[in-house]
């Protein structure tokens, strides 16, 4: 949302920088899934809430992994908007909030998570292909592989749930009015 064009021009130059990206990505994913879980809980969609909490937990492990990889390194302190993600202004999980729905089903939740992971794959792939630093390239490729694995896991998980019917978001009741 800046006035600059959306295409990603910046090349990630150091592994520290890439780790900072990776950390931000995972941390934001944790935050996002927790937020979504809270939303579902508030809206009495407990099944999906539990699923999101679970996803948050998993992402939390990824944060730990990155932290471990970053041990002893001095990562740059970038603010949210100083990250230069691929094609859009937010991190791969950034858009998920908009896709929430109070009647969403586990299938949707995983779809949403999968979408994020796929975007992460795309991002790291881009980093790998544009990298000039060999270390960065290598790390990015590892990350691609890791995220691809996540996508695959999610796909398996999703199969356990039926695909929602077309009118899954139907609610005959009117919205509650407040103030």
């Amino acid at each position: 949302m800046t006035n600059e064009p959306r295409d990603r021009k910046k090349v990630i130059a150091t592994t520290e920088e890439l780790l900072a990206y990776s950390l931000a990505l995972e941390e934001e994913a944790v935050e996002r899934f927790n937020e979504l879980a809270d939303q579902m809980e508030v809206h009495n969609n407990h099944e999906v809430a539990d699923l999101f909490y679970k996803l948050a937990e998993i992402e939390g492990k990824h944060v730990e992994n990155v932290n471990r990889a970053a041990e002893g390194k001095q990562l740059p302190d970038l603010l949210a908007w100083e990250f230069d993600w691929v094609d859009e202004g937010y991190s791969p999980e950034g858009g998920a909030l908009e896709d929430a729905h109070y009647l969403m089903q586990p299938w949707h939740a995983i779809e949403l998570a999968k979408h994020g992971e796929q975007r992460a794959v795309a991002f790291f792939r881009h980093v790998a292909s544009s990298a000039t630093d060999a270390g960065v390239k290598k790390l990015a490729e590892e990350l691609v592989a890791e995220e691809e694995e996540h996508v695959a896991l999610l796909e398996q998980w999703q199969e356990r749930f039926p695909r929602p019917e077309e009118d899954w978001d139907d609610d005959l009741d009117p919205p509650t009015i407040l103030e």
Partner: protein, 576 residues
């Protein structure tokens, strides 16, 4: 009049559709010849929150919930906790609930009631596109004794838009539920009678107020949305254009009230509807209507205050501001419906009175009256309509604020030649020219006050009922439970009088004296923390020496049994 009734609470959450289910059940009950009421309660979420439909059906007209509920159906157990304060249960009450696995769900609140597990989700899953709430509908219809056919037409009406598949799925679920209901304990519902088509109405108090307004002649409405008045406006927005009228959604309440003053100045009976915060914004200009003698009606559907308070819950705490919230000496009318269907009459009468006296009328409805849906007898169509004193021909020297034989002076309407004048919120002479003299001020204050205190209001100022030397005085939505309490007492042979005040201002000292003739003890019932009704009565009337006050703030509704308990000192021991 002994009443056989059944009270049912239906709760759910996360978009489980309990409101729709409840409405359908109520309508089915109505079709079957029963009377009924349904109120809603909901959590703070706009979508997907906990929701409960509280339903009561009977062979007699109803105006109140019962002391306790016979049957609760919880589509999911967790939804119930929030509402337990509003759903008192007995030992012989029954909770039907989906325990999802047979074991008692920990989230189900502890109660005395008997719990029955019914796997509604599973049953619904068995039907393609099926939903647990439709299972519930079938179950409920069966256990309260509605004929299976009573649901069909309603399903069709509600689900037509959703397509044939959805309809079929629902029908199948209802059938499933109905069958399952046969296994459950049955309740002996009120006797089913035959009612001729169309003799019963299904209506909310908010719709009733809208209907009263247009029956009274209102053709211009300007308003700003606010809970719980919005449904009045929604109904009027749809209905006014049919009658050549219009509703304008204004930018705020200051605009609403001034727009209706302008339209009424132009000759169109006009109304606005709002709730406490909006009423507060309007008081300056309600004073303008009073001073310039332009008739307007302001409907306040009360909610819990102060400030934003609790917007979706009932309270009777705008009495103070309605009676005394205008600056200066600004006599005006304040009315309150004494029942849900009386919202028609009282609003209509208010329009009539405002027009007849060329002043402002505030009608105090409340969230409970306004948002309850009831099956009622078709209301009478009464004769009160707006009739303003407009001179046929205008003489040489028309004086808008003339003090003649009647304090209501003829009012010309723009377009009438020779009738031009300037309506004014400044103090003025009879001709309408600004004046700061004591004599003019006194004369106009007298005029504006006399016209409303001298008016012949007839018998409508209050609903008076019963005999005996004990009386309950109350108003608004508190009337319903009081009325039921007294009818229960009557059934036991105890007579208690009831006075439900419809016209709160101006005061009617003589009528009150007559009503209190022979009364030794008075119980006042009101839903306000600061005893607003009590203070009002003290200021306005001479009450008997023995006065007892039963008051509490919203949102907990009064129950008939509580009223009886309050009277027990007097009626229990002495058996009056």
């Amino acid at each position: 009049m002994s009443r056989q009734s059944l009270s049912i609470a239906l709760s759910g959450s996360g978009g489980s559709g309990v409101m729709t289910t409840g409405s359908m059940l109520l309508e089915a009950a109505g079709k079957a010849g029963w009377y009924g009421i349904m109120t809603r309660s909901a959590g703070p979420q706009i979508r997907g929150g906990e929701a409960a439909a509280l339903i009561r059906v009977s062979d007699q007209p109803l105006e109140s919930h019962d002391d306790s509920f016979d049957l609760v159906l919880a589509i999911d157990p967790a939804s119930l906790g929030r509402f337990m304060g509003e759903i008192p249960l007995r030992e012989d009450s029954v909770i039907i609930c989906d325990m999802a696995g047979g074991r008692r769900d920990a989230s189900l609140p502890e109660t005395l009631a008997r719990e029955i597990d019914l796997p509604m989700k599973k049953m619904a899953k068995a039907v393609k596109g099926g939903r647990p709430n439709m299972i519930a509908l079938g179950v409920l219809a069966r256990v309260i004794g509605l004929p299976e056919g009573s649901i069909g037409g309603i399903l069709e009406k509600v689900l037509r838009a959703k397509g044939a598949d959805a309809l079929e799925a629902s029908q199948a679920c209802v059938k499933e539920g109905y069958a399952a209901g046969a296994e459950l304990p049955a309740f002996s519902g009120p006797p089913i009678t035959d009612v001729p088509d169309g003799e019963r109405w299904s209506i909310t108090g908010n719709e009733a107020a809208g209907l009263g307004a247009v029956r009274g002649g209102v053709r211009f409405v300007a308003a700003y949305p606010i809970t719980p008045a919005t449904e009045v406006l929604e109904w009027l927005a749809g209905s006014l254009p049919k009658l050549g009228g219009v509703l304008v959604q204004a930018e705020d309440e200051l605009a609403s009230i001034n727009q209706i003053i302008g339209a009424s100045f132009g000759g169109k009976p006009s109304l606005t509807a709002t709730s406490g915060p909006g009423l507060a914004l309007m008081t300056e200009s309600i004073g303008l209507a009073v001073c310039s003698e332009v008739p307007v009606v302001v409907l306040d559907v009360m909610r819990c205050g102060p400030s934003t308070g609790i917007a979706t819950k009932n309270e009777q705490s705008d009495l103070n501001i309605a009676l005394n919230g205008l600056h200066g000496d600004a006599p005006h009318l304040v009315l309150a419906p004494t029942s849900l269907s009386d919202c028609i009459f009282t609003t209509q009468w208010a329009v009539h009175l405002a027009e007849a006296m060329q002043t402002a009328a505030i009608v105090l409805s409340d969230q409970s009256l306004g948002q309850t849906r009831a099956i009622v007898d078709k209301p009478a169509d009464i004769a009160f309509i707006a009739k303003r004193n407009v001179p046929e021909v205008v003489g040489e020297t028309y004086r808008r604020y003339a003090i003649g034989d009647s304090p209501v002076s003829p009012m010309t309407i723009p377009g009438q030649p020779g009738g031009q004048y300037t309506a004014d919120g400044l103090e003025h002479t009879e001709a309408g020219a600004p004046s700061s003299l004591y004599d003019d001020h006194l004369a106009q204050l007298d005029k504006r006050s006399n016209k409303i205190t001298n008016f012949n209001f007839g018998e409508h100022w209050a609903d008076i009922d019963g005999t005996g030397d004990t009386m309950v005085i109350t108003w608004g939505s508190a009337c319903g439970p009081v009325r039921e309490a007294l009818s229960r007492l009557r059934a036991q042979g105890t007579e208690v009088r009831m006075l439900a005040i419809r016209l709160l201002a101006p005061e009617r000292p003589e009528d009150m004296r007559a009503a209190l003739e022979g009364v030794k003890r008075v119980l006042l019932v009101e839903q306000s923390h600061s005893k607003q009704f009590y203070r009002y009565l003290r200021a306005a009337y001479d009450l008997p020496a023995e006065v007892k006050l039963f008051h509490r703030p919203g949102p907990l509704a009064f129950k008939p049994g509580e009223i009886i308990e309050q009277l027990s000192d007097w009626c229990g021991s002495e058996k009056l």
